[in-house]
Each structure stands twice: as structure tokens, then as C-alpha cells.
Symmetry: C2
Subunit: 202 residues, 2 copies
């Protein structure tokens, strides 16, 4: 299995380089369980979902804590048939596909209730894609049902779903959506945007 | 059919509001063939691919022309089963699925050769997702083969492909990838990032 994300931070500030570099230290506690490579467009972070999502949460919270309007953008993927197996991605976080949707939804809600708060608000918007064999819309609709009862659901938009709340439960909701819907051996991706301190919402 | 994009502009500048507002006038020539709605995270642009991609190209070129480090981000979608039919999305741009991959690839290359230049460089990175029935990886691999001979191909990365060049051929390449691979009645999405004036590449 191969899992990870292409991640970018966009600080709407003349000091964008400093904001990015100072926020990256939030990844330090997670680095030994991730592989990280950077170019001029994005940073590749390879690792299992149970490390990847908390790491992204901490990166986002550090950037949001600067007070600037900052957006974190990520293309997340697991199980892409074009990627090689990688031992660093070994995970026990993916749901059993034989488990009925209702039980997976209940387990996902319970994981969110246990998520620690970060003190930083997050306005998130994301699309979940489930590819390959099987009924991809049944899994996506099952995920949307879970999202509506997650406590972080804001509203549905064309092409995506909005979440809002503290970054802790918001990133926990994203992790549950990524791990518990679509088969464990399937190809599942998320297109994610998380916005902090937007002047449009003040 | 329903097609469109959730689009955001991220200027890495204290003047980000002015950069965004001044760039939006680049959409004016296209507005009568699009439906546009904005909130604090993104702008929904609904319309057919042959209008959507040139409109995004012009928006990007206007933002890049300010000289700031600016990123355009878009979640593009066509044929999502969860969206309603919309007459504004009527299109003749989608390929015939009975046409062999090689012919679709040749037609796509020819469309890029005809694309006008904008004078603005674009460093783009995107993922194409083809969902539902059929062999989604065959269509994705067919698209990647086309990209490699497109003249805008930079390199493959984990989870995505990089394009580089003038924004004219780069957005033409994206349009061809979106329209000519995956069935016309299928659900196809693109997760797109286009970066201008990055200090990392100077």
C-alpha cells in the first residue's frame, strides 16, 4: 500500500516564506514516521493515515496560529495502483469492507468525539473520490451521511462538502472519511482545502 | 450533464484582496456562458469545458501578470451523478468513447498546437480521476501517455503530473485531459494547482 499527500501552505502575506518555514516545525514530532520531499509547488508527505492526518492538523494549526489568512491545500491518496508498496505506509486504520455502512459510520463518529481540540478554527472543504470496481457512489453517499452527523458538517456545495469547527475534530472527520469508506485495497483520494482567518468571514 | 469547478486564487501578498478583485475582470468575456457564485473558501464556476478552461486560463494569466507569487487552485468535475442536469453545461467537447485511445491522443495534441500563448508562464500540477464503471486506470494511463507527448509535460510526481510552459498550452493540455479521457457520460474530476512567480524557482 502507498498512502500520502501533496501538501501546500498559502499564507496571504508578504511574509509568506517566514510563515511557511516557521509552521513546518509542527511536523517534527511526526517526522520519524513520515517521508517528506519538497519542491516549488508542493511537499510530498508519505505515511499511514493515522500519522498523516494528525501531522496535517498540527501543520495547519501552527500556520493558523500566526494570525494570517492562510490556506492549507492537500491532494491525499491511498491505494493508487500506479504507486509501489511502501513499508512506511503500513496501517491498521482502514475499515473492514465487510462491515455494514451503519457500523462504520458509528465508529467514525466515536473517533471524532475523542479528538483533542487545537484552539484553532478551521473552515474546510473537500471531495472524496472512490475509484475502481464496486459502487463508488454508495460509498460516497455513505460517507456523506456520516459527515452530516459528524458535528463538523457545515453544508454541501457543488463538487464538495464544507466542514467547520476546531481543527482537531475537523481533521479527525477527514481522517475517518478517508479510512472508513471505499475498500481497504481500493484507490481513494481526497481533494482538500482548509482556510484560516479569512477576512470574508469576519 | 453538470460541469464546473470550485476555484480559488491565493496571492502570497498583503494586498491579496486587491490582487483577487482586479484579476476577476478577466472572467468578464466569459460570464454570459458561465454561472458564478462566491463564498469565503472558493468560487463556483458552472459551464461547459470549452468555456471553463479558457476562462480559468485568463483568470490565471491576469493574476500572474500582477507579478506576485500567486496560486490558482481548482476542483473540476463533469458528470457527477449527484449533480442535476444544467442546460448551461451543454457541450460538444467530450470525446467519443468508441474512438481508440491513439486517435483521442492525436486529436488532443493537435488542439494544443492551436492554443494561443498568453505571455504568462504556468507551473501546474494536477490529478485526473475517472470514476464508476470501466477500467479507470486504462483511461488514466492513456491520458498520461498523451501528457508525455503534449509539449507541456514536466514530470510525474506521486499522486499527480506536473506541466510547465506558457499558460495557453498548459490550460489547453488540461482541457484535453479532462475532455478526451473517461466516457462522456462518466464522472471525471481534476484536482488542479497552478503556480506563478514562485521565488523557489527563481
Amino acid at each position: 500500500m502507498f498512502a500520502g499527500a501533496q501538501v501546500s501552505l498559502y499564507p496571504m502575506s508578504d511574509d509568506f516564506v517566514d510563515v511557511i518555514l516557521s509552521s513546518l516545525s509542527a511536523l517534527d514530532p511526526w517526522r520519524d514516521r513520515l517521508r517528506i520531499e519538497t519542491d516549488d509547488i508542493s511537499t510530498l508527505i508519505v505515511g499511514p493515515p493515522e500519522v498523516l492526518f494528525p501531522a496535517l492538523r498540527d501543520l495547519y494549526a501552527a500556520a493558523a496560529g500566526t494570525g494570517h489568512h492562510v490556506v492549507l491545500r492537500a491532494t491525499l491518496s491511498r491505494g493508487c495502483p500506479g504507486e509501489p508498496d511502501d513499508p512506511i505506509c503500513q496501517t491498521g486504520a482502514l475499515a473492514n469492507p465487510a462491515e455494514p455502512l451503519a457500523e462504520r459510520q458509528a465508529a467514525a463518529r466515536s473517533a471524532i468525539a475523542d479528538a483533542p481540540e487545537t484552539g484553532q478554527q478551521a473552515a474546510a472543504q473537500f471531495s472524496l473520490y472512490v475509484m475502481g470496481a464496486g459502487d463508488h457512489m454508495a460509498e460516497i453517499m455513505g460517507c456523506i451521511d456520516f459527515l452530516k452527523s459528524s458535528g463538523t458538517f457545515d453544508r454541501s456545495k457543488n463538487f464538495c462538502t464544507r466542514l467547520t469547527g476546531d481543527a482537531g475534530p475537523v481533521f479527525a472527520t477527514l481522517q475517518q472519511g478517508f479510512c472508513r469508506f471505499g475498500p481497504p485495497e481500493g484507490h481513494v483520494t481526497i481533494d482538500l482545502t482548509v482556510s484560516a482567518n479569512s477576512p470574508s468571514t469576519r
